[in-house]
């Protein structure tokens, strides 16, 4: 009896539930637009960083500071979380709410691990390298750019965690699906920004 119900429930959910309603389509579209604005935001932060990255004011320079293995580990965690969020959306499209939930949980855990590494990295700089917000123009630009990204990660973790709770309460519907889809878009965006940070801040800081 229950299986029949579950089967019936399955067939009512459309193939791409995030785009099934006007509200859902509006959400996805507006989120693309919002990400356009976010791109300008990070673009301005990158420009600021590039303008000030050699203004070290006798403080530590990028080459002295950065420890690439740590950053590489963080990068690996974040890229992996982007992949797991893809799996989550695929599970959603196959209408497998439990699988979707599990992949989202893994995404959040990977994101939190990334964030923990970043907090550790910052704390090392502040405590052992005397490299704080006020040290130099370079330090201000570094903490602002990387910190903004970190704040985005933290917000994304909270957001997806709330969505997992919502999924448990309401199930996968045409109302919850757009929210999950949009949060995955956000998460990929954060990931792309990190790829630029890894290149422009860390790699260029070490070798440029």
């Amino acid at each position: 009896m229950t299986t029949v119900h579950a089967e019936a429930g399955k067939s009512t959910l459309p193939h791409e539930p995030e785009k099934a309603t006007l509200e859902g389509r509006n959400k996805v579209l507006a989120f693309w637009l919002f990400l356009g604005g976010e791109a300008v935001l990070f673009g301005t932060l990158f420009a600021t960083f590039l303008a000030l990255r050699n203004s070290t004011n006798d403080g530590p320079s990028a080459a002295e500071l950065f420890h690439l293995p740590l950053v590489a580990a963080a990068t690996f965690l974040l890229l992996a979380s982007s992949l797991t969020s893809v799996f989550a959306i695929q599970a959603m499209h196959r209408n497998k709410p439990a699988e979707l939930r599990n992949w989202l949980i893994i995404t959040v855990v990977l994101g939190a691990a990334f964030l923990a590494l970043e907090i550790y990295e910052f704390s090392v700089y502040v405590r052992h390298e005397e490299f704080g917000m006020t040290t130099s123009a370079f330090s201000s630009a570094f903490y602002t750019l990387v910190g903004f990204h970190g704040a985005h990660v933290a917000f994304g973790i909270l957001w997806i965690a709330i969505l997992i709770g919502q999924l448990a309460r309401k199930g996968l519907t045409v109302v919850t699906a757009p929210k999950i889809y949009v949060s995955a878009m956000y998460w990929h965006f954060i990931d792309v920004v990190w790829v630029f940070i890894f290149t422009v801040v860390y790699l260029l800081g070490k070798v440029g």
Binding site: L41, T44, T48, L52, S55, T134, S140
Partner: protein, 612 residues
């Protein structure tokens, strides 16, 4: 209470209008005080510090809290109606956008009573705006107030983009959209790509001032010119955010009162897009005198001058629309016709300023002041007056008095030209802007007196307009659906003011100027594209208001986080970021509520629509 919880775009429009009008009044009073101080040489009416605060707040208030909200008021009132939609794409966000704007504006103006207004000019150039040269909390109010208000603008921009992309009535292709909808669309796109830049700029300046970061402090490796780049890469597109909606209004009003289709509609569309595109390419013309070098100066000169081409296309299209038309000089059309030569003069001085060598002479003189007031007041404000008189019956169901409207027009436009025309000559003779007084017998005396008299006359024009609103509000709301009788677009097909659901049945659009096309075919109303059915409406909610209150509290808390207070309790609360955290808890708590408790809205049933 109804007004605090509303998510109806027509009510939000009225909120924007009153709030924007309120700040416009404050900005206007500041302008009058500035002009009184400059009425004669060596005047002691104001001291230098107060004068600095007044010019800073006049510019900031007028741009961010005066004209932009009034533009948003007209967009909110008109756009869903013009495209045949029942609401905007995100009614909840629409309300949120309004409340963040209002609380940002209130925060900024609190500075007058909380220890000093911002005093570094509306551009807040560093290092003048650093704590070294601006020691009060003034600039903090500027950075945090504008940050909160800017959030509202960005939300509004995204909302209009989504609305126009997805919610047009059947048959309304992009190339059948009314010009005001087009300019709103493009303006929203500029907002989307320009505002995040100033967001970052304001964050950096806030960090410099509150967290002692070093972005703009040259002593620790910072770069003051970086602020100028960030400010103007937002600031120049902002000019087009302001003027494009005015272009849209003029393109609605002139065809209506010429009983002719807009001449060169598609060239108007492409000129609008081109202006938006070029608007992002020209920011450094504000910075010629910082020494960017000849190559940069030449490139930015040429790209700036290029903007005159699409703008010229627009001017001629308006003239050709009137040519051979049955022109009626109603109040809205008077403002629209007055707009054309006035704005053109502002454009011509713009080309003069775009020439880098000439700019070295004009820089920071009253010539620049005259130029941008011709663009913003002679362009945008005349456009807004035109739009307000034109759509007032649609917004409120009452026609403004035509007689008083004409009085408003003549006093305002004569006052305007008296005030600012002479400032071109003051600038060419070398009078500097932003300086609180001047010496006698430099030939500045008479022209400044004339300018101040003109400013008074503009004030009189505003008072007549307010009087007009006041007496109109006491009349019965009996405006016809199509009160100008020559309405061409969809908003004139529904009652004035429109019912909550706008359109009982979504109309079918069969061409540009959809309503005019039906009129020509002998129809009295639009052909519906759907049967009468149940209409889904969003529920009213207090959450947008609460979120904005939270951001407001968090902003104040952050601003005073390094202060010492007389009372230990206050110091404890602020220094440990407890006030900031409280504000953020209110905001994020409201967001959580919004997320956890689904609101499915409500329906208006067909029986109710038929008035049964």
């Amino acid at each position: 209470m109804d007004w605090i919880t509303t998510v109806d775009h027509k009510k939000i429009a009225i909120l924007y209008l009153w709030a924007g009008g309120f700040f416009f009044g404050i900005g206007g009073l500041e302008a009058i005080l500035i002009r009184i101080q400059l009425i004669k040489p060596m005047n002691t009416f104001l001291d230098a510090q107060t004068f600095n605060e007044l010019i800073t707040m006049h510019g900031t208030t007028m741009i961010f809290l005066g004209v932009m909200p009034v533009i948003f008021a007209l967009m909110n009132a008109v756009i869903p109606l013009q495209i045949g939609a029942r609401d905007v794409a995100f009614p909840f966000l629409n309300a949120l956008g309004f409340w963040t704007f209002l609380f940002g504006g209130l925060l900024l103006n609190l500075s007058w009573v909380m220890g000093g207004a911002p005093d570094a000019g509306w551009t807040s150039y560093t290092p003048l705006s650093s704590t070294t040269y601006s020691a009060t909390h003034g600039v903090d109010f500027y950075t945090i107030g504008l940050q909160i208000a800017g959030l509202g603008t960005l939300i509004g921009g995204i909302n209009f983009l989504a609305t126009i992309i997805t919610m047009r009535a059947p048959g309304m292709s992009y190339m059948r959209m009314p010009m005001f909808a087009w300019t709103t669309f493009i303006t929203s796109a500029i907002i989307l790509f320009a505002f995040p830049a100033i967001t970052v700029g304001l964050v950096l300046l806030t960090f410099d001032r509150i967290l002692e970061a070093n972005f703009f402090n040259p002593l620790t490796g910072g770069n003051p010119v970086l602020w100028q780049h960030i400010f103007w890469i937002f600031g120049h597109p902002e000019v087009y955010i302001l003027i494009l909606p005015a272009f849209g209004i003029i393109s609605e009003v002139i065809p209506t009162f010429s009983r002719k289709r807009l001449f060169g509609y598609s060239s108007m569309v492409f000129a609008t897009i081109l202006i938006a595109f070029l608007g992002f390419m020209v920011w450094a013309h504000h910075m010629f005198t910082t020494g960017l070098g000849p190559v940069a100066n030449a490139l930015f000169s040429v790209s700036t001058m290029l903007i005159a081409v699409p703008t010229g296309i627009k001017i001629f299209n308006w003239l050709f629309t009137m040519w051979g038309g049955q022109v009626r000089f109603t109040t809205p059309n008077l403002f629209a016709v007055g707009f054309i030569p006035t704005f053109t003069m502002g454009g011509v001085t713009g080309v003069m300023l775009a020439s880098a060598p000439a700019d070295f002479q004009f820089h920071d003189t009253y010539f620049v002041v005259a130029h941008f007031h011709y663009v913003i007041v002679g362009g945008l404000v005349l456009g807004l007056f035109s739009g307000l008189h034109y759509w007032w019956p649609k917004m409120f169901g009452r026609m403004l008095s035509e007689t008083l409207g004409k009085w408003t027009f003549w006093t305002f436009i004569i006052g305007f030209h008296l005030t600012f025309f002479v400032q071109h000559f003051l600038g060419l003779m070398g009078m500097q802007r932003r300086v609180f007084t001047y010496l006698p017998n430099q030939q500045f005396d008479t022209l400044n007196l004339v300018s101040t008299i003109g400013a008074g006359l503009m004030g009189v024009g505003m008072l007549i307009f307010l009087w007009n609103i006041f007496i109109t509000s006491r009349k019965p709301a009996d405006a016809a659906d199509d009160p100008w009788e020559d309405g061409r677009t969809l908003e004139w097909t529904i009652p004035s003011p429109p019912p909550e659901y706008n359109f009982k049945q979504t109309p079918l659009v069969r061409g540009i100027d959809a309503f005019w096309k039906e009129k020509l075919a002998g129809h009295k109303s639009m052909t519906p594209s759907e049967p009468v059915g149940s209409i889904h409406m969003p529920s009213a909610t207090i959450l947008p208001f609460l979120m904005s209150v939270g951001i407001f509290i968090a902003g104040l808390g952050f601003m005073f986080s390094r202060d010492t207070f007389g009372s230990d309790v206050l110091s404890f609360l602020f220094n440990n970021y407890i006030v900031t955290a409280l504000g953020l808890v209110i905001t994020f708590g409201s967001m959580l509520m919004r997320s956890l408790f689904d609101d499915h809205g409500w329906h208006i049933e067909p029986e109710e629509l038929e008035g049964r």
